[in-house]
Amino acid sequence: MNFDFSDDQKFLKAEARKFLDGNAPASKARAILNDKDKSFDENLWRAVAAQGWLGAAIPERFGGLGLGYLELCVIAEELGRAIVPIPFASTAYFLAELIGLAGDEDQKSHILPKIAKGEMIGSIAVAEGPGVLSPDGVQTFVVDGKLNGVKIPVTDGMIAHTAAVLAYENGQPALFLVDLQHGSVDRENLDTLDPSRGAAVLKFNDSPVTRIGKLGEGWKLIESLFDRAAVLLAFEQCGGSDRCLEMARSYALERYAFGRPIGSYQAIKHKLADMYVKNEVARSSAYYGAWALNTDAPELPIAASAARIAASDAFWFASKENIQTHGGIGFTWEMDCHLYYRRSHQLSLVAGAPRLWKERLVSQLEKRASDGSI
């Protein structure tokens, strides 16, 4: 057994850390948060693209680095730690993964090289309003290759070039690719809980589409896609919650109350130890997810659910208790604590809320038990 990343992957991680420490301090996320007109940092986006990270898991013949998912995972962790204000997840974990999963040769050769070069920003458009979307709830339809309907919210919808949209054609669900620059698409900017990550309402009025994957398999494809994204997002969440623990730890060492560092009080020690435990649970689960993703293992749905559940819990806990550890100053706009608190929600909701994943996990376990394969 060797349940660890290789030296090369660790080197890549260290390089990514160095690059992001220099190019993506939290002040970059804060700048986007403060600027109502901006929903991403374009210069940072270009700089990250120039590192080739968008193409880490894209095969070389489609312009990627052809490294693999373990490499993409270590990059994701560093991006999460830096709470980068760029559409990396929408583009690399959702659109590129979708194309890789279900795209035909033509779609792959058109889209993947553009993604790898950072020339195409992607987005995934599934939700149609508050609450859980059920098959009956979908009100987006394709007729004769034209899409009509409204998707809300679509993360990065304002800046994306292409969206993958879940819609029904002839009563059958499927995913469709839409060029968002087409005149038939109306986009409206949405305020977001984490304003360092933008979102939009997309309105389609007879927008031309091409289908990706088979008609009738839209939901199945979304599930497979979200399993893959969940693993990558879990690494981002691990990065973010680790950073919260670091912030809390260094403050607990510096801050004195009653003549002692607050870190000498067990209330604070146990809080930080709990953060650490949750972070490590998340990390181990994410590693297992990475293995499943990288080897296309049949365990992926279970591994991805576990990673997503653990990582969402860890980031939420670390981000709120980091504020608490800081006391009054942690509650201010000036401190970075709230950027992580906000981002923890962005990441735990963008691929569906944790409670859905718990349901999905138990359904999988139930199925496995009734198949007798436990």
Binding site: G129, G137, L190, L193, A257
Partner: protein, 404 residues
């Protein structure tokens, strides 16, 4: 044991209802300025008929009512949309302190105007390096040369409502050469003094209700001293004890709003989210907690009406309420699924409140005693467990180790 109003209380309630029906303002206003004016009017109106500060003694212009009457009024008032309350710190903490230790002239001057909403007060306790550890306050008050006046210099922080306040009570270090708790003295200050500079601090929720307050050569008369020189710590305990009583209900989204939203939001499998077992269990817990806070408060009120002094056990309500608000709003935002990332005009009114609560609840776990400090209080003062070994108690304040 019963929950029936006594005949007198029942009559009191009827009168309150009738009065509220007639007098609750139609307009609250939309700008800060309008809201503040509406709040002042409302307080004046209440004070004129004895609903301003129900338990305050007749001697100071209050009606000398009972704690139960106060509960009745608060219950009834909460059924109406009334202006915001910028007086809670003044009336809940500062003035009770003034009444407890101020001299006759001071009480005469301030109690009435505060009760009538004419003057707003703030509590200048916390400092950049003295929050939980209030006894470590460093703002200095020194005697002006050869005079009995004092000169105050220093910085306070997180002062809620300072930007609207006319006066504040301020805890100062008057002697750094004795152990920390012995070298403090309390004063009241005029917030309009040219030496007082108030700078709002933006909170993570975006609003700016609390402030930094810089005090530069603020000259105060010895008659502005509240309590003895070196007696400031004892005075602050009076303030904090009344604070405990004032913290009844923390504002924010509640279980009823959650239930309502859950009925209307699609959940797992196409049924309303309210059918999701995991959410049902949470709702049950929040309901139990909410009711228990209310009942605990009623027990405390009953004890007070029998002449007992509210004790540290009242800390439990705040521990439960603040965390509950955070968990409830978090779950409510998650209930929206992907839509939970949205904020602003695309949210329904109730979803907007869940978002707002999510961003203010972290402050409630810190303000007025952090979760951790309140647990220490329960463990040490109620359960009688030994306190932390202290390194700061028996040495001169200037020798206590400090960090950031």
């Amino acid at each position: 044991m019963d929950f029936n109003d006594s005949p007198e209380d029942a009559e009191y309630r009827r009168n309150v209802r009738a009065w509220l029906d007639q007098n609750v303002p139609k307009k609250i206003g939309s700008t800060e300025h309008e809201k503040l004016a509406a709040a002042k009017d409302w307080q004046a109106k209440k004070a004129a008929v004895g609903y301003g500060c129900i338990t305050w003694p007749k001697e100071w212009g209050g009606p000398g009512g009972t704690a139960i009457q106060n509960v009745i009024f608060t219950e009834e008032e909460s059924n109406y949309q009334v202006p915001p309350n910028p007086f809670r710190i003044g009336l809940g903490m500062c003035l009770p302190t003034v009444m407890a230790v101020g001299d006759e002239d001071t009480k005469k001057r301030f109690v009435g105007p505060a009760m009538r909403g004419e003057e707003i007060w703030c509590q200048l306790f916390s400092e950049p390096s003295a929050g939980s550890d209030l006894g470590a306050s460093r703002t200095r008050a020194v005697r002006a040369d050869g005079k009995s006046d004092w000169i105050i210099n220093g910085q306070k922080v997180w002062t809620t409502l300072a930007q609207y306040s006319d006066y504040g009570i301020v805890i100062c270090r008057t002697d750094p050469n004795v152990p920390k708790h012995k070298g403090l003295t309390m004063f009241w200050v005029d917030m309009k003094d040219p030496g007082v500079k108030v700078t709002p601090i933006r909170q993570m929720s975006g609003g700016a209700e609390f402030n930094e307050v810089f005090l530069a050569d603020v000259r105060v008369k010895d008659s502005q001293r509240l309590g003895a020189v070196g007696g400031g710590w004892k005075v602050s305990l009076i303030t904090l004890m009344t604070e405990r009583l004032a913290v009844g209900k923390l504002s924010g989204a509640n279980w009823a709003q959650f239930l309502d939203a859950a009925r209307r939001t699609p959940g797992i499998g196409g049924t309303p989210a309210l059918k999701d077992q995991s959410l049902r269990e949470k709702l049950a817990d929040w309901y139990v907690q909410d009711e228990a806070i209310k009942h605990t408060r009623n027990r405390a009120m009953t004890a007070i009406s029998k002449g007992q002094i509210p004790g540290p056990e009242n800390s439990i309500s705040k521990i439960i309420a603040a965390t509950k608000l955070q968990e409830l709003s978090h779950a409510a935002v998650e209930m929206l699924d992907q839509y939970g990332i949205v904020s602003g005009p695309y949210l329904s009114e109730s979803a907007g409140q869940f978002h707002a609560t999510l961003l203010t609840a972290p402050g409630l776990r810190i303000a007025g005693g952090t979760d951790e400090i309140l647990r220490n209080i329960l463990a040490e003062r109620v359960l009688g467990l030994p306190g932390e070994i202290r390194v700061d108690k028996d040495v001169a304040f200037r020798d206590v180790p400090t960090g950031r």
